[in-house]
């Protein structure tokens, strides 16, 4: 269950030919995207058979994009499923958003780009993106590529070398979201 279909639709619209990986052997494209809606523990369970293959592709500099839960799984672990270890591609934990406002944080929120050099945000000028989440990653400050505000600062995007993550859903964020996916495809 999740947004795999929406992500594929967006990629096809942009002229790419996405393949939904059913087994680790399918993970052989020029780019890898881990989408995801749902809980951290379940997500990691589903991802488990693919992990060795994903690590292999990362060493050969293939770009990886994590969307929402996909981003959260880059980290060491999450308050949502305390017994499950994450991919540990980035340092830091995923925590419940600490805000006085209503959770989940659902809707269009404005993006503040912190790292203009991040290739995902080329030709993006602080637009609005669609968010649906209750948890957020707390990485080292220099990995934060964009933030948003929801009664507190929320890390909206992370970037480390060939690994990119968005807490928002570019596949549901209109023309600007498509531009982000296009930028990723053109890496």
């Amino acid at each position: 269950m999740g947004n795999i279909k929406s992500v594929c639709n967006a990629l096809k619209y942009l002229g790419a030919k996405p393949v939904i990986a059913k087994s680790p052997a399918d993970v052989k494209g020029e780019k890898i995207i881990i989408p995801g809606v749902g809980a951290f523990g379940k997500g990691m369970d589903n991802l488990k058979p693919f992990i060795p293959r994903i690590r292999e592709t990362l060493t050969s500099s293939i770009p990886l994009l994590g969307i929402c839960l996909g981003l959260e799984m880059f980290f060491e672990g999450s308050e949502e499923s305390p017994r499950t270890k994450g991919l540990e591609l980035m340092k830091g934990k995923v925590v419940r958003v600490r805000t006085k406002l209503r959770l989940p944080h659902i809707g269009w929120n404005s993006l503040e780009i912190r790292k203009k050099a991040c290739p995902l945000f080329q030709d993006i000028d602080n637009g609005h993106m669609y968010f649906v989440h209750s948890y957020q990653a707390l990485p080292e400050e220099d990995l934060v590529a964009a933030t948003t505000n929801y009664g507190c600062k929320i890390n909206a995007s992370v970037w480390k070398e060939n690994i990119f993550g968005t807490q928002f859903h570019p596949e549901k964020s209109g023309p600007l979201g498509l531009q982000i996916l296009k930028n990723f495809l053109e890496l």
């Binding site: 947004n3 929406s6 619209y13 989940p104 809707g107 929120n109 964020s173």
Partner: protein, 275 residues
């Protein structure tokens, strides 16, 4: 800062090949407005923040067609899509999610078997589970006449609000305000609140109804029914603080474009997503 959402609603009659978007007045008198996925794409390009499809044929045979409409739309439209009308169980919901819907909306099934709200929220997440409430004013002269109901003051007198099912064809005796609070507890992620008195009237949203419910729940409420001008949308945001406003005919018949509505709201300093 989170933006207020503008949501065009496509009431779909799926007895036609490819479906037809229709618009009723007070849930009757039907007019035709176009083919669902074509209108959806036009609204997306014009800045719609989300699109709602309601199957008003709502008979079991049409279910594949709603999936088809959603699947076709989601190839070219990249904002959240909600499908509603005639969804009775997890399997019906799974079909439209599989076709590309991000949320489903239920009314009749939820009132008949409230546990379905809990189930949908557990299976697909609260964010994907919208409960639609069609509410009609029931005026009272003495509040004691209806002492088990939540009485609200309106410019036309005191009233309570009754939930309707089957697209307005049947009344339930259920208090819409209490029902809204119950569905939140059961795990609904959002309430799509339609005023049956205002629907099709173009005289503005039912502010007392919308405020009464929005003040009592903490999940987002989408105001629906009665939108005739951009001012009606700014009014409902300013007077009730709802998260989203839904409209149909003002967009279908070109009274205003979504872009024009958003430009107007920006002048009122209401946070919206520019295109």
């Amino acid at each position: 800062m989170l933006c207020h959402r503008i949501i065009p609603c496509l009431d779909c009659d799926l007895a036609f090949p490819e479906g037809r978007v229709v618009k009723g007045i007070e849930f009757k008198q039907i007019k035709y407005a176009g083919i669902p996925w074509q209108l959806a794409e036009k609204y997306y390009k014009d800045g719609a923040d989300e699109i709602v499809f309601l199957d008003i044929t709502a008979s079991h045979e049409r279910r594949e067609t709603m999936s088809h409409v959603i699947a076709k739309t989601s190839e070219n439209v990249f904002v959240p899509l909600t499908a509603g009308g005639g969804i009775r169980n997890i399997e019906d919901a799974r079909k439209v999610f599989h076709a590309g819907a991000d949320k489903i909306s239920i009314n009749t099934a939820a009132i008949k078997h409230p546990i379905i709200v809990n189930k949908l929220a557990r299976y697909f997440g609260s964010q994907a589970c919208v409960v639609a409430i069609d509410a009609k004013r029931r005026y009272v002269t003495e509040p004691e006449e209806a002492d088990d109901k939540i009485i609200v003051e309106t410019p036309d007198g005191l009233c309570w609000f009754e939930c309707s099912i089957y697209g307005g064809r049947e009344f339930t005796g259920l208090d819409a305000i209490r029902w809204a609070m119950e569905v939140e507890e059961r795990g609904a992620g959002e309430i799509l609140l339609t005023s049956m008195n205002k629907d099709g009237s173009k005289e503005g949203y039912d502010i007392p109804l919308t405020k009464a419910i929005n003040d009592r729940v903490s999940i987002p409420v989408i105001a629906s029914g009665g939108c005739g001008t951009s001012e009606h949308i700014s009014e409902v945001f300013q007077k009730t603080r709802v998260s989203a406003a839904l409209a149909a005919s003002i967009f279908h018949y070109g009274t205003y474009s979504i872009k024009e509505v958003k430009e107007f709201l920006a002048t009122k300093e209401i946070a919206i997503r520019p295109r």
